[in-house]
């Protein structure tokens, strides 16, 4: 998945605002399909860049020429205004041309159209493709059939890497080093790509992650009241017996959206019962640590998985998450599209560190 280029110029010890990072963004990647093979160091570097991007996104004149002349296409097979607008804004602040394509997965006949759509775009020489698709693995499939950089904006129930990055960014900004911190994720795990990506992401940064939800919404082979072993790919994940156990002494409480479809498929008797037994409200938040953050990837079903009171309360960082989303996506697009793509690779005239 990575596309190493020759290291251009000198790379002296790579400094970040937080000190020297362990590996750094040494080999420019071609795609961001999941966070599986990013090291904690690479993630920290992306988050460091996001800080710089956040500052730019906050200016009055927020335009930069960084990705001028690049074409980014957002191709969403699932409805999502907020994520698409977030990517669009990210690309435009960086000066790229952003084109939005919406398609309906159901109107796409089996395989042929997805493949042909990708090949058509490939012929138009685009630089990046931001894709959201209802099938797990779709972004890998697409990356195998295009030269453009592919950013996974959510594939089925598998992964949503930029959501995890912005969640990590938000937590880092408040808490700093996440080692040993307790993260509680409450909600549908079985169908949630945000849950999967966040469990992996926060574990990678050294946090301890606990999950709580109805037994019908975790895989059959996971048992409530246990801790998962490494062979599951989510080693160390704690499965709480109930939500109070999960939230107790947590530093971050993350509520995930519960959808009506789950009740329709027989996983839940009703959303009301879910809200009663797993909903994050003021009493449950009080069990968490003082100053614990309340997060939600949005959009929120107030009154179901989260009460209005806490959703808009002092501990809620939901709006920050949205703002951070643009900054993080700017960092991702910039990292994928800018370095290593110019024709000046290997120009020995360029040296870093002393040139001005």
């Amino acid at each position: 998945m990575t596309n190493p280029t020759t290291a251009v110029g000198n790379n002296p010890a790579i400094e970040t605002a937080n000190g020297i990072s362990d590996e750094g963004l040494v080999a420019p990647r071609q795609h961001l399909l999941d966070l599986d093979d990013l090291s904690a160091g690479e993630i920290n570097d992306l988050l460091d860049s996001a800080e710089g991007m956040l500052e730019i996104a906050g200016r009055d004149n927020r335009k930069t020429p960084a990705l001028r002349g690049k074409t980014i296409i957002t191709m969403f097979f699932e409805n999502s205004t907020r994520t698409r607008v977030s990517f669009e804004q990210a690309g435009k602040i960086l000066g790229a041309d952003v084109i939005n394509v919406t398609a309906s997965a159901s109107s796409v006949s089996k395989g042929e159209s997805l493949l042909n759509t990708v090949k058509t775009l490939q012929a138009m020489q685009i630089d990046a493709l931001v894709v959201r698709h209802p099938h797990s693995g779709a972004s890998y499939f697409i990356s195998n059939h295009t030269d453009a950089s592919v950013v996974n904006a959510g594939d089925g129930t598998h992964a949503h890497p930029t959501q995890s990055l912005l969640d990590l960014f938000t937590v880092r900004n408040h808490i700093g080093d996440m080692t040993g911190k307790k993260i509680a994720i409450v909600g549908d795990v079985l169908y949630s790509r945000v849950a999967r990506s966040n469990i992996l992401a926060f574990q990678k940064m050294g946090a301890e992650v606990t999950v709580s939800c109805p037994n019908t919404l975790i895989p059959d082979e996971w048992n409530l009241g246990s801790t998962l072993g490494d062979e599951t790919g989510f080693g160390g994940l704690k499965l709480a017996r109930n939500v109070d156990e999960a939230v107790d002494s947590a530093d971050v409480v993350m509520a995930l959206r519960i959808q009506q479809e789950r009740q329709d498929a027989g996983h839940l008797p009703s959303l009301r019962e879910y809200s009663d037994r797993w909903g994050i409200n003021a009493q449950r938040m009080a069990l968490a640590n003082d100053g614990a953050l309340l997060m939600h990837p949005g959009p929120m079903n107030e009154g179901v998985e989260i009460s209005s009171e806490v959703a808009h309360g002092a501990q809620s960082v939901v709006e920050e998450q949205v703002r951070n989303g643009v900054a993080v996506r700017m960092a991702v697009l910039y990292t994928l599209c800018a370095p290593g793509k110019s024709t000046r690779i290997g120009n020995s005239e360029s040296t870093s560190g002393d040139e001005a």
């Binding site: 999941d34 395989g111 693995g137 499939f141 895989p219």
Partner: protein, 453 residues
């Protein structure tokens, strides 16, 4: 039928139906087996064509009870012609055409057409299987008597389970008089709930909806009880789970008339193959994952299930191997995992892939050949799968040391959907003889010669 006289000499002849496992010569004339005899016991005459099989294994031609020929209706995936060619390359001299064609083989008219065209154009023998229900819709019984008259060897709605327990009971009961087995694709789709691969760690990591083993086990149990109730013949296709085997053993012990088959892929591949790394488990999921050539029904199972079916086949709890050869076009496989059609291309890799189990000592070569020859013939109750005198001269000659790398583009089948692309296998069918005629010869030039492996 060839008048030619053929002597296959010096090979290790393994004919489990006759209990033969020794170096011997096989003599053929007029398309029939004359005898299996030691070379000292007969005199070579000039009119004998000789195939030197020293160092090779000489087996009866393989008999497959489960093949999807896609003809009529989906000829872009496979036809009777290409399917029988693929069969010949894999050592199969008899295959059984599943009825899930378009139109479905639920009437004499359609079955007769398949029989006629197979006889005319097929390179090897094709036996028809009739549908259990009209259109395979699981609502109303197909005219099983009429289909039996047309020569079907059993009934199946394969692809679809007979979900209605009453219909399954009636089908079993009705079939008793005909003496033909009901072959039900055991899958409770409600338990399966839209899963696309086996439930478990792999599915969870990949975010793919998983099918629990119980989706098969529950219906196998149901079918066994109904077979017991009706005293009918039940044949379980593509059995794949530990739970199904437990139920099968209990049923056989109590005298239920049941047989079971397992596919080459369920004997050799686990759900870890969906990672796209030939069974390796990666630390990080990569872009080779979601290999649609691993998508099949029943899905590739856990390693524990794989070990269990291997042992069950070896001991005879599972009676035979059947390929479930399911060719698909590229448009059905070059897509997302959810969108991909279920099915693996098997005929030409079947023997070689399971032969690896002989190498590792998990199954004896005799038992392996039995499960491809005498076993299926016994279920068919036909004079096939053996080198007995007077039987059709159907022979497969195997080179046990031949190494080859699977290249789907070079297979005779129209389709290329094999997860074994690039895998090196040891052991290969090198010559196939059907009714005394050579229908496949690896080393000859012409249609079936392999340019290179």
């Amino acid at each position: 039928m060839a008048a030619r006289k053929l002597a296959i000499t010096g090979g290790r002849v393994i004919d489990p139906a006759q209990g033969i496992d020794r170096v011997a010569d096989v003599l053929i004339s007029n398309g029939k087996i004359d005898e299996v005899t030691a070379s000292s016991e007969w005199t070579m005459l000039d009119d004998y064509e000789v195939i030197d099989a020293s160092g090779k294994i000489v087996s009866p031609g393989f008999v497959d009870l489960h093949t999807h020929l896609r003809d009529p209706g989906q000829e872009w995936k496979e036809t009777i012609i290409t399917g029988t060619r693929a069969a010949a390359c894999g050592g199969f001299t008899t295959i059984s055409a599943m009825p899930n064609t378009d139109p479905v083989q639920d009437s004499a008219a359609v079955v007769d057409d398949v029989v006629r065209r197979s006889a005319a154009d097929g390179l090897v023998r094709v036996l028809p299987i009739g549908a259990i229900s009209i259109g395979q819709k699981g609502k109303q019984l197909a005219p099983m008597g009429e289909l039996a008259d047309s020569g079907v060897i059993g009934f199946s709605d394969d692809g679809n389970p007979v979900a209605d327990a009453n219909l399954m009971r009636q089908a079993l009961s009705y079939s008793v008089e005909l003496g033909l087995p009901i072959i039900n694709h055991a899958e409770d789709k409600k338990i399966g709930a839209g899963g696309v691969m086996s439930a478990g760690t792999v599915a969870t990591r990949l975010g793919l909806a998983g099918v629990p083993a119980e989706a098969e086990t529950a219906m196998v149990a149901r079918d066994l009880h109904l077979a017991d109730l009706t005293k009918a013949r039940l044949h379980i296709p593509h059995i794949s789970t530990v739970g199904s085997l437990v139920a099968l053993r209990t049923a056989k012990d109590s005298g239920v008339d049941v047989t079971a088959e397992v596919t080459p892929h369920h004997l050799t591949l686990s759900d870890e193959w969906v990672y796209g790394l030939k069974g390796e488990v990666p630390a990080a999921v990569g872009s080779e994952a979601y290999d649609t050539n691993t998508k099949v029904n029943p899905p590739l199972r856990s390693r524990a299930d794989v070990e269990a079916v291997i042992d069950a086949l070896s001991e005879g709890l599972i009676d035979i191997i059947a390929t479930d050869h399911a060719p698909h076009a590229a448009t059905d496989k070059v897509c997302t995992y959810n969108e991909a059609a279920h099915g693996i291309n098997v005929l030409e890799t079947a023997f070689s892939s399971v032969f690896q189990l002989v190498d590792t000592g998990k199954i004896s070569v005799v038992r392996l050949i039995e499960s491809l020859t005498a076993g299926p013939a016994a279920i068919l109750r036909k004079d096939l799968g053996s080198l007995k005198k007077g039987f059709s001269a159907d022979v497969a000659i195997i080179d046990p040391g031949s190494k080859w790398i699977v290249n789907p583009e070079q297979l005779e089948s129209k389709s290329v959907n094999s997860p074994l692309a690039g895998v090196e296998l040891t052991g290969r069918v090198v010559t196939t003889i059907y009714q005394g005629e050579t229908v496949f010869d690896l080393n000859a030039s012409g249609v079936f010669s392999e340019a290179k492996q």
